[in-house]
């Protein structure tokens, strides 16, 4: 028994799992069990074949009732797998679920020390002793129950956001779908035919938007962005700013067409990645949604020419601030294409070097012959992994969609535009899964695949009206090969959207790759550490559309579990202040990243107070307290000190 434990008089049951033989092959569980049984306050110790088995769970429940037990320790696998299983067992036995501790003697003992069974046994015993010490001091905790609004704010009306909005609406939630751009559809709206179905982005976006329009519980805001967020899971109070379109419905197509013609302002059209120009009053394509043009006020000179042709234009429209009360926030903000550095494979320096995204738009804009800058294109060289899989750069990741998209575009160039010569200069093609069929089709169509490595990059030079590319081809034992092409396409991958304000307002966790970070890629793949904030689609990392929609539907299911009952139970790992010990120095307030601490006046003076709805249970406030007045439920000072003593034995 540790110094901290004292004599609580708790009646503790300890269950040691063999895990088949995963544990018992290396840990002498019978010896551990007999030693554990001698520990103070341990009333019962048993070895079980599989503690997680239904029969074993029933046995534990019976023990809790019959002995009776006040607390249980299960020594088995990682708590990441069965913490909630055994909490439920404790609860079924009538215990508070937090009077249960799981000790990991599989991953962190039997498997890690399978080279030394005697020491693995000794360690398992120490770990269990620490678990006993902890559970002996554990206070019963009650999950915090708070009301939850059955509504969702979805940020991003791309394919992932729109698909999720439809599902959530059908599940009965009120959905606020907020899109920063003036038109929905995200990046997919920009693509023409896509692998592997040959559906166009426009077709997909149109189908989704038509479904959204039939659902009364989806409210769509375009040209809108979040400007503030207060509250927490179940009750987020959010504000969005809606930027005016300066155009109001009903739309008179003739009038708008004339207004666009009359507009004297000409700027690069970002929808076509600068390949074409647009006016300050514009729309992207015929079936764009909402089907209403917009005035780009950053470039509009307010000359008034458009007003002469169209009564639907109002240059005095004001921005709106909308208050939204939502139970959860759903991020589906998508990605940006990687923008090559000036000079990277000739980009920006050679006139016939473009990106994959520009090629996709060019394909959409082309009819009959494939031309670039008036020149008929007879040969194309794709250079892969530009901005992805960088050994020395920031983007170490594979962008997953670009190999497939490039090869699909190459097939389209061959089949629809009869471009005869296509080279694929790659670092290894990753058309995984069903997409491999496209690679086979491209190879069969005569496309030439050459492979390079990061250490020996390609050299792209100007060669008359063409580009000359020199490669040390890995597939021919590093032989230097030179190819010439009318057009060079840099197969650029994905980078995160520039969401600086959104990230600051929502405190979105960001990973090393700068994409949004989930709690655990396998166990909690769409949740973030911010309770009630889920991530989906390409804002979480590179994905193709299929994967993006799959992840968004996973996020829909998770969101639904949060808000469908009208109330939410939170983990009770919260900071707690001892008002008698607190002398209010403000250090805890400064340490808290979640605005979960406030100063309050009491009869005895100023003290810290925890705002439970904001506290995430990180514990950052605890080490800074000079009077040890602040503690963390579930990880208390006494519990940890007691565990240290138990382990040291």
């Amino acid at each position: 028994m540790t110094k901290e434990q004292g004599n609580t008089g708790k009646r503790i049951g300890v269950y040691i799992c063999r895990c088949g033989s995963n544990i018992s092959d290396y840990v002498d569980v019978d010896t551990v069990c007999s030693e554990v049984a001698k520990e103070k306050n341990v009333r019962l110790a048993r070895v079980m074949m599989f503690a997680c088995a239904d029969s074993a769970q029933k046995e534990i429940v019976a023990d809790i009732t019959n002995e009776p037990l006040d607390a249980i320790v299960v020594a088995s696998c990682s708590p990441k797998l069965h913490l909630h299983t055994f909490r439920a067992v404790a609860e079924r036995g009538g215990l508070n679920p937090f009077n249960y501790v799981q000790v990991n003697i599989r991953e962190q003992s039997s498997w890690a020390h399978s080279d030394n069974p005697p020491q693995a046994t000794e360690k398992a015993f120490n770990l269990i002793k620490a678990g006993i010490a902890r559970v002996d001091l554990a206070e019963p905790l009650m999950p915090v129950t708070i009301p939850a609004e059955n509504s969702v704010l979805i940020l991003g009306a791309g394919v992932a956001g729109m698909r999720s909005a439809i599902e959530l609406a059908d599940l009965g939630s009120q959905v606020f779908l907020v899109e920063r751009e003036f038109f929905v559809g995200g990046r997919v709206a920009q693509w023409g035919k896509m692998a592997t179905t040959d559906q166009t982005g426009e077709e997909i976006v149109t189908a989704l938007y038509n479904q959204i329009r039939t659902r009364k519980n989806i409210q769509v805001y375009t040209g809108a962005h979040i400007i503030s967020s207060k509250g927490s899971i179940g009750n987020f109070n959010l504000q969005i700013k809606v930027v005016p379109r300066y155009v109001k419905p009903p739309c008179d197509p003739q009038g708008f067409r004339k207004a666009i013609e009359a507009c004297p302002v000409i700027v690069d059209d970002e929808f076509n990645f600068g390949l074409t120009k647009r006016k300050a009053i514009f729309h992207n394509y015929k079936s764009e949604f909402p089907a209403l043009p917009v005035i780009d006020m950053a470039n509009c000179t307010r000359c008034g020419e458009c007003l002469k042709h169209c009564t639907g234009i109002n240059l005095d429209q004001k921005e709106e601030i909308i208050d939204i009360h939502a139970g959860t926030i759903f991020l589906a903000t998508g990605f940006n294409p990687y923008e090559p550095r000036p000079g990277e494979f000739g980009f920006g320096e050679l006139s016939n070097v473009i990106t994959l995204q520009q090629l996709k738009r060019l394909l959409e804009l082309s009819k009959g012959e494939f031309r670039f800058r008036e020149k008929k294109i007879e040969s194309i060289a794709f250079i892969y992994c530009v901005g992805s899989r960088q050994v020395d750069g920031d983007n170490k990741y594979c962008s997953r969609y670009c190999c497939t998209s490039a090869i699909h575009a190459a097939l389209q160039l061959k089949q629809e535009f009869n471009v005869p010569v296509i080279y694929h200069l790659n670092k290894g093609i990753r058309t995984y899964g069903k997409q491999e069929v496209l690679y086979a089709q491209s190879s069969a169509a005569g496309d030439v695949y050459l492979q390079f490595v990061e250490d020996e990059p390609l050299l792209v030079e100007i060669y008359g009206e063409q580009a000359k590319i020199t490669i040390n081809d890995l597939l021919t034992a590093g032989q230097e090969i030179t190819v010439t092409a009318d057009l060079v396409v840099l197969v650029t991958g994905m980078v995160p959207r520039d969401n600086i304000d959104l990230n600051r307002i929502l405190k979105v966790p960001i990973g090393k790759d700068k994409f949004y970070n989930e709690i655990h890629p396998k166990l909690r793949p769409v949740e973030t550490v911010i309770d009630g904030l889920v991530i989906s689609g390409c804002c979480q990392g590179p994905r193709n559309i299929h994967e993006s929609v799959s992840s968004s539907l996973a996020a829909v299911a998770k969101v639904y579990t949060f808000i469908n009952k009208g109330e939410i139970q939170l983990e009770p790992t919260l900071a707690i202040v001892n008002p008698d010990a607190c002398e209010w120095c403000g250090l805890c307030l400064a340490a808290c990243p979640f605005d979960a601490i406030q100063m309050v006046e009491t009869g005895k003076g100023k003290i810290a107070q925890i705002i439970e709805g904001n506290c995430k249970g990180c514990g950052m406030c605890t080490p800074v307290c000079p009077t040890e007045a602040i503690d963390l439920k579930g990880f208390t000072n006494m519990e940890i000190r007691s565990m240290i003593e138990a382990m040291s034995g």
Partner: protein, 132 residues
């Protein structure tokens, strides 16, 4: 070989999964390494580190969240501050400061963790032998 007892402070969402992963891959490190799991490496109290040394541990290793911390980037500076404050307390107690190590261990950094903890154990062993 007798290996010195090392206490690891790992974190629920980041570094402890790496320790689990090491076990899953049967990567071996001394069985005298014991871990206590916390929500975040910025929640380690310097007093716990001193308590560990006074209870018989010869080394303490903070397997920090680093830039992966789900609670935000401030974790890096805060954990560093905890190490700094612990060093002051260790000096006051006459405990060599190199007995406390801190390194960022990501959720899949099993090999890195095992490599580092093995090196730490070897260095501690050598240092303790010298003392003897």
């Amino acid at each position: 070989m007798n290996t010195p007892k090392i206490l690891v402070f790992s974190t629920e969402k980041i570094s402890d999964p790496a320790l689990d992963f090491a076990g899953l891959m049967k990567l071996h490190y001394p069985a005298s390494v014991h871990a206590i799991v916390l929500p975040c490496s910025s929640s380690v109290r310097p007093e716990w580190i001193i308590h560990a040394f006074e209870s018989g541990f010869k080394g303490v290793y903070i397997a920090a969240d680093g830039s992966d911390c789900p609670y935000g980037e401030s974790c890096i500076a805060k954990t560093a501050k905890i190490v700094e404050r612990s060093h002051v307390l260790m000096k006051e107690k006459g405990i060599p400061t190199d007995r406390l190590r801190m390194a960022a261990v990501c959720s899949v950094c099993a090999e890195i963790f095992v490599k580092q903890i093995n090196i730490f154990a070897e260095e501690l062993n050598a240092s303790l032998k010298k003392e003897d």
